[in-house]
Amino acid sequence: METYNSNIDLEIERMLETSSVSPLLKAIVKASLYNMPYANKMTILRSLQKEQRKLLLLKKREEKIIEKYRGLMENLSKQQGNT
């Protein structure tokens, strides 16, 4: 059974850098990659990719919310200035 695959290991480590999972878990994953079967590595990679996509979507939603309220506040300020 193949356990070491430098490409997938590197990819996981790269994804971990931007992941929101705890630093401890990052250390655990890194510590266990060498002896881990390929299938488990793939599942980890997929989980990280899924998390990354979700975080990206949420970040965009956050920006939209901020923009929406910033606009609202600006309008309100203008209205108050006019009155």
Partner: protein
């Protein structure tokens, strides 16, 4: 401002108001900083928002919290999946070893501590594998890590909160305590603080048990009375341990004296359950210990307990007279300072005979029914 608005940020605004932020706007600002950090509040300049905008602020919070919650959920989901794969796909002892090395690099553990950390980490990973609750394992490992670091401090300088946290990993604390307390009085004083900080927690029971079992090994001074040293009412010690349901070797030390109190305080049912479990797990099958149990049962006028003792002890039950005889012999030998091992006692012979007989496995269903 309506109550609904105050609740929007899960109590933080309320907290801010309680902390003296009387202006709603200020309360929002404090709450927001606590929730999202200063960068966000700076970015949005909440304090510059016009007076009549406060109605919007509530909704703003609501939407941001929804996103924040989703982020946390995504993180938890990823953590859960990843830990599961790690424990399923890796050798837990190897992972534990590597993690322990990392913790050691940060916290400079003593050899005994290092061993304890490795065991705790491995146990957590194994538990995650078995229960499918990886988040719990992660939290435990994190606590181990924090406690290991916290133990660097002088125990007398710890705050109650730090004691409470550090105490949850009592094993570490004990190793450090051994190095730092050179008198029994100082240790007793500190342990009283530990007790008051920890309260009647399960961890405290584990700690008491650990201290009871390892006192002489851990400290250069001798103290036979660990419960007292811990500031525990001795009559309450056994019930405390029994409620923990994890008592092992410490039992022999406290049982003879405290058993009647335990029965009185806890009632027969939990005590019975407790003993049956111990017998089943072969932790309590020494003839001498069973004899002690019978001794206690005979000391108590309880038919229920006598019956139970007979059944769980099976062929190993010895007479009260032989127990007393054994105790007398022991005391005599101790007095004489004899180094030779005691000749085979009547009860031990009986115990060995019983050991040769087949196990009492067929009795277990009956015991289970009793419970």
């Amino acid at each position: 401002m309506s109550d609904d608005k105050v609740k929007l940020d899960e109590g933080l605004i309320g907290d801010a108001i309680n902390e003296g932020k009387t202006r709603v706007k200020d309360a929002y600002k404090v709450a927001m900083e606590k929730s999202f950090g200063k960068t966000w509040t700076d970015k949005l300049q909440v304090w510059n928002w016009p007076k009549n905008s406060l109605l919007f602020v509530g909704n703003f919070f609501k939407e941001l919290f929804a996103v924040k919650k989703e982020k946390e959920e995504a993180k938890e989901r990823a953590e859960s999946e990843i830990v599961q794969e790690v424990v399923n796909g890796g050798e837990t002892s190897a992972i534990a070893k590597r993690l322990t090395e990392e913790i050691d690099a940060e916290a400079k553990l003593e050899p005994e501590e290092k061993e304890a950390v490795a065991i705790l980490v491995e146990d957590s990973l194994e538990a995650a594998k078995a229960t499918g609750e990886p988040a719990k394992a992660l939290a435990t490992i994190d606590r181990v890590k924090e406690a290991a670091k916290e133990d660097e401090k002088d125990p007398e300088a710890l705050t109650d909160e730090e004691i409470r946290r550090s105490f949850s990993m009592g094993l570490f604390t004990m190793v450090r305590l051994r190095q730092r307390f050179d008198s029994e009085e100082k240790l007793a004083e500190f342990l009283t603080r530990v007790k008051s900080a920890a309260g009647k927690s399960r961890k405290f029971n584990d700690f008491s048990k650990y201290l009871t079992n390892n006192f002489k090994k851990l400290f250069k001074f001798e103290s036979g009375d660990v419960p007292e040293l811990l500031g525990i009412d001795k009559t309450k010690f056994l019930p405390l341990l029994i409620s923990n349901d994890k008592m092992r070797d410490g039992l022999d030390i406290v049982l003879p004296e405290l058993f009647p109190t335990a029965v009185r305080d806890k009632g027969l049912v939990p005590i019975r359950k407790f003993f049956v479990n111990f017998i089943r797990q072969k932790r309590y099958s020494e003839p001498e210990t069973i004899a002690k149990l019978v001794f206690m049962v005979e000391g108590k006028n309880s038919n229920d307990m006598r019956d139970l003792a007979k059944r769980i002890g099976g062929a190993k039950i010895v007479s009260l007279a032989s127990v007393r005889e054994t105790e007398d012999k022991k005391a005599q030998l101790k007095q004489e300072g004899a180094e030779k091992p005691v000749a085979k006692k009547e009860d031990e012979e009986k115990g060995e005979e019983a050991d040769k007989k087949p196990d009492h496995k067929e009795e277990e269903p009956q015991l289970a029914e009793d419970l």
